[in-house]
C-alpha cells in the first residue's frame, strides 16, 4: 500500500517542556485521520511539525516512502516536501494584499511555474468548487470568516497536494458557518483525498475519519477506528476526555439536501453503539427510503453489522405495508393509526440524539442533542408503544 506519510519517533521540545514525545504515525493513501485531545495536548504542534513549518528535535518524517526530513534537513528538501503537503490553518492566513484569485493562483505561478493563463484557469475552477467564483476579484478583508476559510482551502487544493493537514479550521468561525466548511472536507474525503484533521467536532471526526488518534500531553494514547474509539475506548484517559466532551454536548444541527441527508444517516449508524435501538415514530411508507437512495444498501449493511434494531411506532398507509414489511422483517413495529395520507416527516430517537426529519422536495434533518429531551421523548414513545400494543395486536 502506498504510504504517504510515516512519522517515526518524533520529539518536539519547547524550551524545556516536551511538547511531543515519541510520536509514531503512519498515513496511507486515501486515509483520513483525525487527531483529538484536550487543548495543550500538542495536536497543532504535531500537525505543524509534519507540515514542516516547525522544526522538531529528533525523529523523522518520511514522505511518500522516499523523502526523509530530519531535524537538520536542509531547506531545499523541506521546500520540495512542503510543496506536496497542504496545510490549512485555523486563522486562514490569507494574504491581505492580494485578491482572492491572486491568493489562489500565486503559488501555481511561482512554485509550479504554470503560465499565468493556466494558473488563473485552474484557480477559477477551484474557486467554483468552493462556491466563491464571484468573489475572485475581492480582497480577503471583505470576506466573512467562512468564505476566507474556503479560499484558504482552495489555495491549498489548487496545488494538488498529496496530503492535506487541517488545523482546527472551524475554530475561528461562527457556529453557523462551520457546516459549510465541514461539508467541503467530507466531499474531499469522498474523493479519496488523504488528510489529517485536528478538530474539536467529535461527531464530524467520527463521520469522516478512517482512524482517530487521541493525543494527550504530547503522546499518542490511543488510535482506533471511530466506532471503537468513541464507543469503547481502551485507555482510561481517553474515557475521561470523551466523557467531558459528551457532557458538554448539546447541539442543534440542520442538514439539508439528499447528499447531507444520506451522509447523516450513515454517519449516525457509525456513531452509535452496536446493538442499540433506534426509536422511530412516523408513517410506514413515507419517503425515507426514497431519500436514502443508493446509500440504503450501505445503511442496511451497517444495521446488520452492528445489530441495530429499529423500534417503530407508526401509522400505516395503505398499499405500502407489504413491500416495506418484507425488507424490515426483523425490526419491531407497532402500528397505531391507519391513515390514508403520508405526512412527509417523522422523528427518531438515537441514544443522546433526537432527529426530526422531513422528506419533501428537499429532505432535511434537524438534529437535537439533549439528554433531558431524549429522556422525555423516550417516555412518550414507550407510552405510545404500550398503548399501540394494547389496541392493535396486528403487528407486521
Amino acid at each position: 500500500m502506498n504510504q504517504v506519510l510515516n512519522v517515526k519517533k518524533l520529539v518536539k521540545d519547547y524550551e524545556n517542556a516536551l511538547v511531543l514525545r515519541d510520536i509514531n504515525l503512519k498515513v496511507n493513501k486515501g486515509q483520513v485521520i483525525s487527531i483529538i485531545g484536550p487543548s495543550g495536548s500538542g495536536k497543532t504542534t504535531l500537525l505543524r511539525c509534519v507540515g514542516m513549518v516547525e522544526n522538531f528535535e529528533s525523529g523523522e518524517v518520511v514522505f511518500d516512502e522516499k523523502e526523509i526530513v530530519k531535524n537538520n534537513t536542509e531547506e531545499k528538501v523541506r521546500e520540495k516536501v512542503r510543496n506536496k503537503i497542504g496545510l490549512v490553518f485555523q486563522d486562514f492566513h490569507l494574504w491581505p494584499h492580494k485578491t482572492v484569485l491572486e491568493n489562489v493562483s500565486y503559488a501555481l505561478i511561482n512554485v509550479k511555474k504554470d503560465s499565468k493563463k493556466e494558473a488563473i484557469k485552474k484557480s477559477k475552477v477551484m474557486l467554483k468548487k468552493v462556491g466563491l467564483l464571484d468573489k475572485s476579484d475581492d480582497y480577503p478583508d471583505s470576506l466573512s470568516g467562512g468564505q476566507k476559510q474556503r479560499v484558504a482551502i482552495a489555495r491549498t487544493l489548487v496545488m494538488e497536494p498529496k496530503i492535506i493537514l487541517f488545523d482546527e479550521i472551524t475554530s475561528a468561525l461562527d457556529p453557523e458557518l462551520v457546516g459549510g466548511i465541514l461539508k467541503i472536507i467530507k466531499r474531499l474525503a469522498k474523493e479519496g483525498m488523504t488528510m489529517i484533521i485536528v478538530t474539536h467536532h467529535m461527531r464530524f471526526a467520527s463521520e469522516v475519519s478512517d482512524s482517530i488518534i487521541f493525543l494527550d500531553k504530547g503522546r499518542i494514547i490511543e488510535q482506533n477506528t471511530p466506532q471503537k474509539l468513541f464507543s469503547n475506548p481502551k485507555e482510561k484517559r481517553t474515557k475521561e476526555f470523551l466523557s467531558t466532551i459528551v457532557d458538554k454536548k448539546q447541539e442543534i444541527n440542520v442538514y439539508e439536501g439528499y447528499e447531507d441527508f444520506q451522509a447523516y444517516h450513515i454517519g449516525l449508524l457509525k456513531r452509535v453503539k452496536s446493538g442499540c435501538v433506534g426509536y422511530v415514530m412516523g408513517a410506514v411508507g413515507d419517503r425515507w427510503f426514497e431519500c436514502m437512495g443508493e446509500s440504503y444498501k450501505e445503511y442496511e449493511k451497517l444495521l446488520k453489522e452492528k445489530k441495530i434494531i429499529w423500534k417503530w411506532v407508526s401509522y400505516k398507509i395503505e398499499g405500502f405495508e407489504k413491500d416495506v414489511s418484507k425488507s424490515l422483517k426483523d425490526q419491531l413495529k407497532v402500528s397505531l393509526i391507519p391513515k390514508k395520507f403520508a405526512t412527509p416527516s417523522n422523528f427518531n430517537i438515537w441514544e443522546d440524539t433526537i432527529i426530526l426529519q422531513t422528506f419533501g422536495e428537499t429532505p432535511a434533518i434537524i438534529e437535537i442533542r439533549n439528554k433531558h429531551l431524549v429522556q422525555g421523548y423516550l417516555n412518550y414513545f414507550n407510552l405510545l408503544w404500550d398503548f399501540g400494543n394494547k389496541i392493535n395486536k396486528n403487528l407486521y
Binding site: V53, E75, R82, H93, L94, W95, Y106, N110
Partner: protein, 218 residues
C-alpha cells in the same frame, strides 16, 4: 537699533561655488541613502536570521552605529580610515561611509519592525505552499510591511539629508562648508547663511512634500 545693509548681490558673485556645494550636498545625501538602505536591508535580514553567527554580530553592529553620535563617527572615520585600512580616501567618501553606516543601522531597525509586524502565519502559509523564503519575503512580507516601513523610513531619509551638513566639519565642499569659505572672503555671514538655509529648504521641502504624497498612496 543697528541698521544693517542687506546686500544679496554678493551671493550671485559666488553662484557657481554655491551651486557646486548644493550639488555635492545632494550627491552625498543621495549616495548615503542608497548605500544606507542596502546596508539596512542586509543588516535586517542578518538580524532576523535564526543563525547565531549572523544574528548577534549584526545586532551589535546596529547597536554601535545607532548609539554613536554621528559627528563623532564622522571625525573618527576621517582620522581612522587611512591608518586602519591603509588607504587614502577623500573626505567626501568618508562622509558617505559615515552617513551610510548611520542610516543603515537605523533603517535596519525600521525594516525589522516592519517585517515583524506581519504575522508569522503569513510566512507559514506561504512556506506551506512550497514557496522559498526569498519569494515569501519579496512577494508576501515586504509588500505588506511596506506601509509600516515607509513613514519612518522617509523621515530617516530627510534626517540624513539634514545631517550631511555635518560633513563641513571634515572640510567636504558641501553647501555649509562652501558658505563658510564665501564668508571668509566676503565678510557677509548673514546673507550667506540665509542663502544656505534657503537652499537646504529648497532641497528638503519638495522632497518632504513628495514623500508625504507617496506615503499616503496605498
Amino acid at each position: 537699533m543697528i541698521t544693517y545693509n542687506w546686500d544679496f548681490s554678493i551671493i550671485f558673485n559666488y553662484k557657481e561655488a554655491i551651486l557646486k556645494g548644493t550639488l555635492i550636498t545632494i550627491e552625498i545625501a543621495f549616495l548615503s541613502i542608497i548605500l544606507g538602505t542596502i546596508l539596512g536591508l542586509i543588516l535586517c535580514f542578518l538580524k532576523i536570521s535564526k543563525n547565531p553567527f549572523f544574528k548577534y554580530p549584526s545586532s551589535i553592529f546596529i547597536e554601535i552605529f545607532r548609539d554613536l553620535p554621528l559627528l563623532v563617527l564622522l571625525i573618527w572615520l576621517f582620522y581612522a580610515i587611512p591608518p586602519l585600512f591603509g588607504i587614502n580616501i577623500s573626505a567626501f567618501y568618508t562622509s558617505i561611509i559615515a552617513f551610510s553606516l548611520n542610516l543603515g543601522a537605523f533603517s535596519a531597525e525600521i525594516f525589522r519592525a516592519g517585517v515583524n509586524s506581519i504575522s508569522k502565519g503569513q510566512t507559514e502559509a506561504s512556506l506551506s505552499l512550497g514557496l522559498t523564503k526569498f519569494q515569501t519575503m519579496k512577494d508576501i512580507i515586504f509588500p505588506q510591511a511596506r506601509r509600516i516601513i515607509i513613514p519612518p523610513l522617509t523621515g530617516r531619509y530627510i534626517e540624513t539629508i539634514k545631517l550631511t551638513s555635518l560633513a563641513s566639519i571634515i572640510a567636504v565642499d558641501e553647501l555649509l562648508h562652501v558658505g563658510g569659505i564665501i564668508i571668509s572672503l566676503s565678510y557677509r555671514p548673514l546673507e550667506v547663511y540665509t542663502a544656505v538655509a534657503v537652499l537646504y529648504l529648497a532641497i528638503i521641502m519638495p522632497l518632504t512634500f513628495f514623500l508625504r504624497r507617496f506615503e499616503r498612496r496605498k
